[in-house]
Point group: C2
């Protein structure tokens, strides 16, 4: 695996980076489509158009492939957080993050990892970039949650972690797929509906 922090990347190194990006893109797509267990390394190699052995020169294991995809997701998430204007109220900021997450899932761009798989857990926790990215995103979201609660916009009875987990869970919410399969809603409508159930609840107000 090539470090992406090379100060002066040569042409060869750039080509390598491009290839690794292609690999990660393929992994991301297959992970979103089939999940970790059902994604085969053969399929990844086929999608990238290289030999399986070449994959293993870049990433030492299937778990590391998935971890690399998650690092990329964390990078995109951080970029999105950066893109939210600072003058937007905290609650609305949280809504936008959830909407962004759900849209990514609807577009088949959200990897789906089993939280039980022990080898995968080790690979993720052993990946400093992933851990740092997740910590950064969590810390920033927790700040927004606290701010929203201070404004009385989020129910104060929920510990910040409860809110955080509930937001994260939208990234693997099967309701999105169910509604998509029903075929009667556009993606925008689905996002809007799940956003409403998530923040306003099922009960009438």
């Amino acid at each position: 695996m090539v470090t992406s922090a090379a100060p002066k990347a040569s042409f060869k190194e750039k080509m390598l980076q491009v290839r690794e990006d292609a690999i990660i893109l393929a992994v991301n797509r297959l992970l979103a489509e089939k999940g970790f267990e059902a994604m085969t390394v053969d399929a990844v190699a086929a999608e990238v158009g290289i030999a399986k052995a070449s994959l293993y020169k870049h990433f030492p294991s299937k778990e590391d492939l998935a971890a690399a995809a998650m690092v990329a997701v964390m990078g995109r998430a951080q970029a999105f957080l950066d893109s939210v204007p600072g003058d937007v109220p905290p609650l609305e900021r949280l809504r936008r993050v959830v909407a962004w997450t759900m849209r990514a899932k609807l577009d088949g761009e959200m990897p789906f990892l089993p939280s039980q798989h022990s080898g995968l857990r080790r690979a993720l926790l052993g990946n400093a970039q992933y851990v740092a990215g997740l910590a950064n995103v969590s810390a920033r979201l927790t700040g927004w949650i606290a701010a929203a609660q201070a404004q009385g916009a989020i129910h104060p009875g929920f510990a910040p972690n409860v809110v955080l987990y509930t937001l994260y869970a939208r990234a693997c919410d099967p309701v999105l797929e169910f509604l998509q399969m029903d075929g009667v809603y556009s993606d925008d409508e689905i996002v809007s509906l799940v956003l409403a159930t998530c923040f306003n609840g099922l009960a009438a107000r």
Copy 2:
């Protein structure tokens, strides 16, 4: 596989039924613990204490094993629906069903099946008992949802299916595991918290 509708079961048939129940129990537990892909037929046989080949005399494939477990779940769900008193208001009835589902998950009794696995889908849809059970549960819940909406207890803007999917999704909500891993909440508190986010939403009221 032995039909459970035998009008006059002999001793031998009863023993067979007991064994199949034991198999289904083991499958249910392993499915809840590891998910479908990570559950091996060897592990099932080992847990039941019989040879793997014997398993295949009862169920022709791994998919059929999972389907049998889901039939059992549907049976338990129908029994629970029956147990809810008729004079309980519809919204409270829905809350109890969700609470029951989440408690089953927290107790490691809720099988986790990948909705993508095509062979599994075929096995499930080819199982008349499962399809009938799912349809029955869905129809009854839909009735309760409509009643709750008629009373103004559930937001009328949600189509019944949206509500139904949202309730079903609690059976595989990762928030439950996250909170359980945090270790600061009892199971009762977890159920109460997720029930609150589900019906009342994250936003303050």
